[in-house]
Amino acid sequence: MVLGNYKAVCAARAADANIRNGAQDGGIVTAMFAYALEAGIIDGAIVAGPGEKPWQPEPTIATTVDELLAARGTKYNICPNMAMIKEATRSYGLDKIGIVGTPCQMQALRKAQLYPIGVRSVPDKIALAIGIFCMENFPYDGMKAIVEDHCNVPMQSLAKVDIGKGKFWAYTNRGAVTQIPLKETHKYEQPGCHVCLDYVANLADVSTGSVGSPDGWSTVFVRTAKGETIWGQAAKAGVFEVQDIGSVQPGLALVEKLANQKISGNQKYIEQRAGYGIGKTLNNPYI
């Protein structure tokens, strides 16, 4: 169950080159929201839009394709998208909400639907939840330390950040590339990520990430009936180019390997935490 329930899995990328240009990998999230927005499936989507400082994301409610495009690409630092979930129905008056988030945010969303404490009118308005694969996240200042102090790239010169092939990559606007081993970045990770037991956003309608697919493509899990319908419609409308996951390298085996790595590592940490005290134990959310 490390990959969660899913109805289908494939490698895909947005057919629209304009979306792909500036996307992290296959532009799946942007393309799917843009399609859903134009087809009236969602009224708007909560995305990681541009914030105050360079590369600091701000949870943003995008109601136009331009706003979606402005939020393309992975930011690799915390963006509390769930903070806008009620605001989306209130200040923005959305009846059909799209939301993108990390696995933990998908857990938060589903908990909010099952136990809707303090989120009146929200549970029945989630029209499309897209999850992104996530090993861990960084606080803004942690990410800044990695980029500026380790990679020696000023934040305002940064064009793209990527984690892949065991390395952290920083690309500048003028084309320079810096890479550092991932082990140097571990100390900047957000501690709360280390108790997370989900790698591929098991609770999303559709989840996606680069791992498993070739460069420029994304692996996509279609998980729920809602996700299946919308994915099917979008694919039919020619929004995506799709390949069989079995026909691409490195394929599903790598996704499974990394998922197992994350979950077993974090499970171990949870057990370790339980033994920190003597006759006392730290809080553990899992029941």
Partner: protein, 293 residues
């Protein structure tokens, strides 16, 4: 399709949820109008007990709109409720939804909360005041027209409470979900009981954790314990917008906090069952089906 039927279908269990006490007797009465009998017999009884609260919780019950009629038609009889049911004394009931804290300067309130505990199988603290005191924590007395009423306690300080349903007000959707689950717990088959137990378990654990809540819980129980990952759910759930996200973590404007307990309860790192949430689509579908038969 009724909820029981739908859940049985979904969870693949047998349709015959209730084992008849006397099978022969049932056979004899088979020709009678079975469906009608079944509907009435299957209902649970629910009451709303109004302590010191602002009526926001009872409004929230009514705000299920036509869903309230579905609940009352198919699953529950409202046997006690100021303004909605014409009953003076607190009767016996399966589930008591208690709104408000208890004013210990008023002997009627003390008698009422005691009677509620005696007469109800399940006592639900409905909303922030009943669970955690909420805004009544700030009372200093001197208000019109009972200046002597100044001491208010959450109901859990006086009686054992089975379920907390925090929030100011608790949302209509949360009330609906808990009512459906309470129905399954009391009247469902074994599978449904197991599901309802799993669902209600964390809400039943809350009363054992105490009667105090504050936005500070996010710091003391979540962030300080290394569990916060900055999803922002607490911020969305705060009814008074006392929480903002700073450096990817909640910052609580503590003077604004009304101590309703919503943020901590909503936090995915206060409690979560991965087994239960994995079935979210099925459960939400079943609740939806139950509410739109």
């Amino acid at each position: 399709m009724g909820l029981g039927e739908r859940l049985s279908k979904v969870f693949g269990s047998s349709q015959e949820s209730k084992t008849p006490v006397n099978p022969t007797k049932v056979e004899n009465s088979e020709n009678k109008t079975k469906t009608e009998e079944k509907l009435v017999a299957d209902k649970i009884t629910i009451g709303h007990v109004h302590m010191s609260g602002c009526s926001g919780c009872v409004v929230s019950i009514a705000d299920t709109f036509e869903g309230l009629f579905t609940l009352l038609d198919n699953y529950a009889d409202l046997v006690y409720c100021l303004t909605l049911a014409d009953v003076r004394d607190i009767p016996k009931m399966d589930v008591a939804l208690v709104e408000g804290s208890v004013c210990i300067n008023d002997h009627h309130s003390i008698e009422d909360i005691r009677k509620t505990r005696e007469n109800a199988t399940i006592v639900v603290a409905l909303g922030g005041c009943a669970s955690y005191g909420n805004i009544t924590r700030f009372c200093r007395g001197g208000q019109w027209n009972q200046p002597g009423h100044e001491a208010f306690v959450p109901i859990g300080d006086l009686i054992n409470v089975d379920v907390y349903l925090p929030g100011c007000a608790p949302t209509p959707e949360a009330i609906r979900n808990v009512c459906v689950m309470a129905y399954l717990l009391l009247k469902g088959n074994d599978d449904q009981k197991a599901l309802a137990t799993k669902y209600l378990e964390p809400l039943m654990k809350l009363p054992t954790l105490g009667t105090e809540a504050c936005g500070c819980d996010l710091m003391t129980k979540i962030i300080n314990h290394g569990l916060c990952m900055g999803c922002g759910t607490c911020c969305a759930s705060c009814p008074v917008r006392a929480i903002t996200m700073q450096s990817g973590k909640p910052n609580i404007e503590r003077d604004m906090c009304i101590k309703c307990g919503a943020c901590y309860t909503a936090c995915p790192r206060s409690f979560i069952s991965l087994e239960l949430t994995a079935q979210f689509e099925t459960i939400l579908g079943a609740i939806d089906g139950a509410m739109n038969p």
